[in-house]
Subunit: 124 residues, 2 copies
DNA sequence: ATAAAACTTGGAGTAAACTCCAAGTCAAGC
DNA sequence: GCTTGACTTGGAGTTTACTCCAAGTTTTAT
């Protein structure tokens, strides 16, 4: 798979794919005449990265995780901690998201039920 | 309430509070000898803004919403649309978050059950 | 009244994550 | 054999959301 195909399949700009490689978020891609040929493993990585990035995991963290993975078995504990930390971060983010959604829903309902948004204590 | 008190109560830097005011995310705060005195309405605004920002709503959107509010009743439909759009954005974000969390949980479990992370098809 | 602490402003600087660009290479079609 | 088009690189530029700073003013404590 060429960079263009990957870019289209996953809606990630070619520039971004090269950038990810540069900063160690995906492994160096093997080339054919200097041109990147993405194999199955690379594709799997990219799909994983996309999922994590869309949830807001920082690039640095993901790069560090890949580095640990490539360092082998000895980094197992560290990887476990990293994954758990990130999982907890996301869970907290999900909480905040839920609160904001509930609040928006409340405001939306106010607007439906009552054109006048100036109910006591809700000036926004 | 002074800017310092608000800053401490809501864990928002003073600079950030002034910045929010500058970009129209909160209304101009009334002054006493040039010094900001935050009243109840301002505090409520700030608390709302904090909730929305922690969910990732862009500053531009929040500023636009405040502007619409201050333009009065005629902007009701537009405000409703804005709130719904943002609500939907957040809901989608929550979905992505959930997917990422599930995936991390899966990886964490793999690590617990099996030191060797190289199960078929999971190179990350 | 005067030194120290707290506040003000406008603008510059920073960090993260891209995104764009110029200049060069390389294989393929005519 | 030359042009076209896709690809490459390194580096500069952009956006968002702060965050810091210098220089000045005001308030408070002695």
């Amino acid at each position: 798979m060429t960079i263009k195909e990957v870019s289209e399949k996953y809606s990630i700009a070619e520039d971004t794919l090269r950038y990810y490689e540069k900063v160690g978020l995906i492994r160096p891609v093997t080339r054919k005449n200097g041109i990147r040929q993405y194999g199955e493993a690379e594709i799997a990585n990219i799909e994983f990265v996309k999922c994590m990035r869309s949830a807001g995991l920082p690039i640095k963290i993901l790069a560090q995780y890949l580095k640990l993975l490539d360092e082998g078995e000895s980094t197992k504990e560290e990887r476990l901690k990293l994954l758990k930390d990130q999982r907890n971060n996301l869970a907290q983010k999900a909480d905040e998201l839920k609160k904001a959604i509930d609040r928006l829903d409340y405001k939306i309902n106010l607007l439906y039920e009552n054109g006048n948004n100036k109910l006591k204590g809700d000036t926004r």
